[in-house]
């Protein structure tokens, strides 16, 4: 019964997601594409925050690394090959995560938060100060990445509808692969580190290596999201490395619920949509936005993804009072 309901909801969501471009205008198709990119970004951060217990305030470093790699590999008046620039962007973000992870993962708690923030700020000022990277104004990417391979073009990212479907496949694929990863012995180990790292070490786990591995995976995935962010909007600027973006994606994770992977997706949708609605209503949208966040944290301590669990508790309590 319960299982059937979940399947039914999933099926409805899938149909809605597939039919959406046919029903909605171009603006909304692009908006949802952007949200799906943020959802991938949020899932990558949740690997650190929710799964491993590493609260990073510098995850934008890898998002920006992916975005700027696309910019650097794009010819001035033309398009980069998707099949070359995408792996390069993911690899660049992974290498950045490896280098930063080797240093910041030696600290814990609030020192870890500050260290991740500091490294992201270094990237920010590098992008701001470098002429090659476009300086503080950023730079344009003229062509969308070209998916042509062996004389065939399976899809065109320049077309908003096809871009939407590409992001849908990518988001769903990311979710499924991460689900498998979290169910694996490696996934169980990083969750053990979240609960009790000291005990993990005394059981024989080299926890530093596990944390470094998940930091690199999360960084690479953030790079993937950043790459498509740059591809969608055709622009890069230092804000892609900014602590505001790091904070925004952290809020998505917390709002959606850290204990589940789909929570990050829900958080990305909820936060972006509320932001859109409020900024349409008033110029002072940051004020109601702040109230919304405070209310959400107070009323949904486990996030939107934990709502089902929370409702179950209420139902049991009511049943206990009646019985």
């Amino acid at each position: 019964m319960r299982r059937k309901l979940v399947l039914l909801v999933l099926l409805l969501v899938l149909v809605a997601a597939l039919a959406f471009p046919a029903l909605a205008g171009r603006f909304y198709v692009q908006l949802v594409s952007k949200i799906m990119i943020m959802a991938i970004f949020a899932m990558s951060l949740n690997l650190l925050v929710g799964c491993t217990g590493l609260v990073s305030l510098g995850h934008a470093a890898f998002f920006g690394a992916g975005a700027y790699t696309l910019f650097l590999l794009s010819p001035e008046y033309g398009a980069a090959s998707l099949w070359l620039s995408l792996p390069a962007a993911v690899a660049a973000a992974a290498v950045a995560a490896l280098a930063i992870g080797l240093l910041v993962l030696r600290s814990t708690g609030v020192y870890f938060i500050m260290a991740t923030l500091a490294f992201t700020q270094m990237f920010f000022y590098l992008a701001t100060g470098s002429k090659t990277l476009g300086g503080s104004d950023g730079a344009y990417i003229y062509g969308k990445p070209d998916a042509a391979i062996f004389g065939l073009t399976p899809f065109r990212l320049a077309d908003p509808t096809q871009f939407y479907y590409a992001m849908l496949v990518l988001m769903a694929g990311t979710y499924l692969v991460l689900r498998l990863l979290l169910r694996s012995p490696f996934g169980h180990a990083i969750q053990g580190i979240r609960v009790n790292e000291h005990r993990m070490r005394s059981l024989g786990f080299a926890t530093f290596r596990y944390k470094l591995a998940i930091f690199v995976i999360a960084g690479a995935l953030a790079g993937l999201a950043g790459y498509f962010d740059a591809a969608q909007f055709g622009v890069v600027n230092p804000d892609l490395f900014g602590w505001r973006l790091s904070g925004l994606v952290l809020m998505m994770v917390i709002l959606g619920g850290m204990r589940t992977l789909y929570g990050a997706v829900l958080g990305a949708f909820a936060l972006t949509l509320v932001q859109e609605v409020l900024s349409d209503l008033t110029r002072h949208w940051l004020l109601p936005m702040g109230l919304f966040i405070i209310l959400a944290v107070l009323l949904l301590p486990q996030g939107i993804g934990g709502l089902r669990h929370q409702l179950g508790m209420v139902r049991r309590r009511v049943a206990a009072r009646r019985g």
């Binding site: 990863l181 012995p185 169980h188 009790n196 070490r201 059981l203 786990f205 926890t207």
Partner: protein
């Protein structure tokens, strides 16, 4: 006597001016319980911390399996086959009892290469975890979150976790602390059973338990070894009676 499993040679630990452990030399034999007793602050737990790698020694060595393990990281020592139970219960509170033991078995048997196969699909690891739970008598509570277990059950679970690592040496730091008499009795039985195929170093304040299970006794006072030998010899030892045993028995 056979070659000891664990040979502690002039091990020392200083915290600034305080010598918590000084010049301690001990041999822990396989197939028996080596009990470590002494008043509070004698350095017993510090010694265990040095052996498990939670603290790095200031001097001396520990020979195990043909090498010096003093100063190695705790995960290295654990993988070599030395498992420990903490004085203050140290488990994965929100995980089910089974997962607590499964992680311990995975640390020993898991191959990091296979990343996408479900953790529960590794039969060898599951069986090691089940065996460990059964040994301590917790198999009926395998699905319950560790935090819902009673204090005594949590202590048993911690022993099960160390057993799932299939270690050669068990370091038990006050496994009976805070246990009821029935739970204590069962735990002592378990320790006696485990002694047949493990080398056990036991820190414990319950003298009845210690004398019923130990084959060798070492008394520590002020970071030093005061006396070491068979339980009966220790019981008769004048210095030990003055320093520790007499008062402890009088109080009990």
């Amino acid at each position: 006597m056979a070659e000891p499993v664990l040979r502690i040679e002039r091990l020392s630990k200083r915290f600034g001016g305080l010598a918590a452990v000084s010049d301690v030399s001990l041999d822990v034999q396989g197939g028996g319980v080596h009990a470590l007793i002494g008043p509070n602050g004698a350095g017993k737990t510090t010694l265990i911390n040095l052996l498990s790698g939670d603290l790095a020694p200031s001097g001396g060595g520990v020979r195990f399996a043909g090498r010096d393990i003093a100063g190695l990281a705790p995960e290295r020592i654990a993988r070599l086959g030395i498992a420990r139970v903490y004085q203050k219960t140290n488990i994965f509170a929100e995980f089910p009892a089974f997962e607590n033991c499964r992680l311990a078995a995975q640390a020993r048997l898991g191959k990091p290469s296979s990343v996408l196969r479900p953790a529960y699909a590794y039969r060898e690891i599951n069986e090691a975890a089940e065996r460990a739970l059964a040994l301590v008598g917790l198999d009926a509570r395998r699905k319950d979150a560790a935090l819902t277990l009673s204090h005594g059950e949590q202590r048993q679970l911690e022993i099960a976790m160390t057993l799932a690592m299939s270690p050669r040496v068990l370091l038990l730091d006050e496994p009976l602390a805070g246990m009821g008499s029935e739970e204590s009795r069962r735990m002592v039985e378990l320790i006696a059973r485990l002694a047949s195929d493990h080398a056990i170093l036991l820190v414990e304040h319950d003298m009845d338990a210690v004398f019923s299970v130990a084959s060798v006794l070492t008394v520590m006072v002020d970071g030093r070894v005061l006396a070491s030998g068979a339980p009966e010899a220790i019981r008769r030892n004048k210095a030990v009676q003055e320093a520790y045993l007499g008062t402890a028995e009088g109080a009990a």
